[in-house]
C-alpha cells in the first residue's frame, strides 16, 4: 500500500464520522467485489484472447481494491470480523453496492457500457479520495487510481469502437444504453451516509464529480458518434440494500463454500 501524501494530515476525521465511515468503506468494498465477480465470469469466454486478459486484469485490480477496503472496514468496525466474514457472510439486503455493478454481463456491449459508467465515476472519485483527509482511504485510492485510469481508458476506447464500428455493434451498444443508463445516476446520488461524509469533507461533493464525468462522457460519445443519451430516471436502492433480483444469485454462488462449510480455513 502506498504511503499517504506528505501534506495529508495524519488523522483529521472526527470521531463521530467513523460511524459513517464504516458503512461507506463497506459500500466501496462491495462495489468493487461485485463488479470484479461479474467481470471474472468472462474468464475463458472473452471475444478474443487479448480482451479475455484485459477483463481478468480489471477484475483482479478491483478484487485487490475490494480486499483493501474490506480489511479497513473490518478494522473500523473493530468486532473481530475479517475481510472474508464481510464478503461471504452478509445477505443481499446487507450489501451496499450500487445496482449498476450487479447487473448481469449480457453481451460484450453491456459489459463495456456498465464498465464505462462505473469507471468514469470510480476514477474521478479516487482522484479526490487520494487527497482526502482519511489516510487509509487516501492510501488505497492512491494505489487504485492508477489502475482506474487504465480501466477508464480501456472502457472508453471500447465504447468508441462499438459506437463507431459496425451497424451491429452500434445496435448492441444502443441496446446496452437502453438497459443500463438508468443505473448510472445512483453512483452520484449521495445516500445519507455519503451526505454526512461530504459535510465533514471526507467525501467530495458529487456535483463537482458529475461535471468532470459528464465532460468525459460527452467526449467519448462524440468520438463514438453516438448521441448523448437523454437523462434517464435514476434507479436507486443498491447503496441502501434494496437490490435487483440479480444480486441474490450472484451471492449464492460467491458465498457457496463459506455457507456450506462454515468456519473453516481455506
Amino acid at each position: 500500500m502506498s504511503a499517504p501524501l506528505p501534506e495529508t494530515p495524519a488523522t483529521s476525521v472526527p470521531a463521530a464520522a467513523s460511524n459513517q465511515l464504516f458503512p461507506f468503506v463497506l459500500q466501496l468494498a462491495d462495489t468493487s467485489l461485485i463488479l470484479a465477480h461479474r467481470l471474472s465470469e468472462w474468464c475463458g469466454h472473452g471475444p478474443v484472447l487479448e480482451q479475455d486478459l484485459a477483463l481478468a486484469n480489471i477484475a483482479l485490480d478491483l478484487l485487490g481494491e475490494a480486499r483493501s477496503y474490506y480489511q479497513y472496514a473490518a478494522e473500523l468496525e473493530g468486532q473481530g470480523r475479517t475481510e472474508d466474514d464481510l464478503a461471504y457472510l452478509r445477505s443481499a439486503v446487507e450489501y451496499r453496492n450500487p445496482l449498476l455493478v450487479e447487473q448481469p454481463n449480457g453481451d460484450f456491449a453491456h459489459t463495456i457500457l456498465r464498465q464505462f459508467l462505473f469507471d468514469n465515476f470510480h476514477y474521478h472519485l479516487l482522484r479526490k479520495l487520494k487527497d482526502g483527509p482519511d489516510t487509509q482511504l487516501a492510501a488505497i485510492a492512491e494505489k487504485s487510481v492508477k489502475e482506474a485510469a487504465y480501466h477508464l481508458k480501456w472502457s472508453s476506447e471500447w465504447v468508441i469502437r462499438l459506437g463507431d464500428g459496425t451497424d451491429e455493434s452500434r445496435k448492441r451498444l444502443d441496446k446496452a444504453i437502453a438497459t443500463l443508463w438508468r443505473f448510472g445516476g445512483e453512483l452520484t446520488t449521495p445516500t445519507a451516509t455519503e451526505t454526512a461524509l461530504q459535510e465533514i469533507g471526507v467525501l467530495p461533493d458529487y456535483a463537482a464529480l458529475l461535471a468532470e464525468m459528464q465532460a468525459h462522457t460527452a467526449h467519448v460519445f462524440a468520438e463514438a458518434t453516438v448521441p448523448l443519451p437523454a437523462p434517464a430516471f435514476a434507479q436507486l436502492g443498491g447503496k441502501t440494500g434494496r437490490h435487483t433480483e440479480h444480486l441474490g444469485y450472484l451471492l449464492s454462488e460467491l458465498q457457496y463454500m463459506q455457507r456450506t462449510y462454515p468456519g473453516l480455513t481455506w
Partner: protein, 318 residues
C-alpha cells in the same frame, strides 16, 4: 562450414545443427515435416492453455476466500497469457491464429485430454495445480531446451509461472489436509479422480507413440512418454504421503533395485476414449470455445471496422 555446405544436403546441414544443439530460428531452412510437427505441437499446447482456462474458471466465482479467488483468477489469467505466447511462437512457423483456432473448433487440432475431466469440488483446484501443473512442468521444462528457438524461449516464461502454479496447488491441498476432516476427505476424493488422468497426460506408452522417435531425433522432445511418467510418479508419491493422502493405485510400491516406484497400468481404453472425444467434458469444453469465438465475432468485426474508419480519417487529415 563452406566445405560442409558443398557436401551436405539441406537436411543433413539441418540435422548437423540440431545435433550441435544450435537453435533453429524462424528464417532458417527446415524440413517440412519438422515445421508441421512443431505447428501441431505448439498449437496443441496453445489450445491446451486456452481450453485449460475452463475447468479452473469453473471455480473462480465460487472460490472460498477473497485471497483464493484472487490467486485463482490470476492463475487462469496466466494461462491466457501462455496461450498468447504460444500462438505467437506457432505463427513464426507460417500459420495464423485464425487458422489454428479454426482447427481447434473443427476438432482437427487436439488439446490436452486432462481438461475433458470435470472440476467438481474446491479440492480440484488443488489437484489441478499440484498434479496437472506438476505433470505439465515435467513435460515442459525439457521444452525450454527444445530445438526451435521461439518455442524454447516461450517455454522459459511459461515454466516460471507454471512452477508457481504448482506450488499454489500443493498449498491448497496442504491447507485442506491440515483442516477439518471434511476438507481432508475432499482432498482425497479429488486425488482419487485426478491421479490416473494426470498419468495419462504423458501420452501413450512409448511402444504406441509413433512420433516420439522422430521428435527426439529433432530434439523437439528430450524424454520419452514413459520416462516422464515414471519421473512424475517418483516425484508425486512422496508428496502425497507428506500430505497424508493415498494414491489410488494399490500397485504403487518403492522398487529398491530400480530406485523408482512401481505403479499400475493406466486404463488405456479410457485414455483413447477421451482422446477420441468421448470424455465427460469434451463436448462442453469445445462448445464453450466455439461459443466464445462465435459470440465474439461481432466484437472483432467492430474493432476492425473502427480501426479502418480511423485510418481512413487520418489519411484524409494528413
Amino acid at each position: 562450414m563452406e566445405t560442409l555446405e558443398k557436401v551436405l544436403t539441406p537436411e543433413e546441414q539441418f540435422q548437423a545443427r540440431i545435433d550441435a544443439d544450435v537453435r533453429i530460428e524462424p528464417k532458417d531452412w527446415m524440413p517440412d515435416a519438422y515445421r508441421k510437427t512443431l505447428i501441431r505441437q505448439i498449437s496443441q499446447h496453445a489450445h491446451s492453455e486456452l481450453v485449460g482456462m475452463l475447468p479452473e474458471g469453473n471455480w473462480i466465482t465460487r472460490a472460498p476466500s477473497l485471497k483464493r479467488k484472487s490467486i485463482l483468477l490470476a492463475k487462469v489469467q496466466d494461462e491466457a497469457g501462455h496461450g498468447l505466447y504460444l500462438y505467437s511462437a506457432a505463427e513464426t512457423l507460417g500459420t495464423t491464429r485464425d487458422q489454428m483456432l479454426a482447427d481447434l473448433h473443427s476438432g482437427k487440432a487436439k488439446y490436452s485430454s486432462i481438461f475433458n475431466y470435470p472440476t467438481l469440488s474446491w479440492a480440484d483446484m488443488g489437484c489441478v495445480g499440484w498434479l496437472v501443473d506438476g505433470a505439465a512442468i515435467l513435460n515442459q521444462v525439457p521444452l525450454c531446451r527444445t530445438s526451435y528457438g521461439p518455442y524454447a524461449r516461450a517455454m522459459v516464461r511459461v515454466c516460471k509461472e507454471e512452477s508457481f502454479h504448482q506450488r499454489q496447488g500443493f498449498e491448497v491441498m496442504q491447507t485442506l489436509c491440515e483442516g477439518a476432516p471434511v476438507q481432508k476427505e475432499m482432498a482425497q476424493e479429488a486425488l482419487n479422480r485426478w491421479w490416473w488422468p494426470t498419468l495419462m497426460m504423458f501420452g501413450p506408452k512409448d511402444a504406441d507413440s509413433p512420433n516420439t522417435a522422430q521428435s527426439m531425433n529433432w530434439r523437439i522432445k528430450r524424454f520419452t512418454n514413459d520416462e516422464l511418467r515414471q519421473k512424475f510418479v517418483d516425484m508425486m508419491v512422496p508428496q502425497a504421503e507428506f500430505l497424508g493422502l493415498t494414491v489410488p493405485d494399490p500397485a504403487v510400491k518403492w522398487n529398491e533395485e530400480r530406485q523408482a516406484y512401481d505403479f499400475g497400468e493406466v486404463n488405456w481404453d479410457e485414455f483413447w476414449a477421451v482422446v477420441k472425444g468421448n470424455g465427460l467434458c469434451n463436448h462442453e469444453r469445445l462448445q464453450a470455445r466455439v461459443q466464445a469465438h462465435e459470440d465474439g465475432a461481432w466484437v472483432r468485426e467492430a474493432a476492425n471496422a473502427h480501426a479502418a474508419k480511423r485510418a481512413a480519417r487520418e489519411a484524409v487529415a494528413a
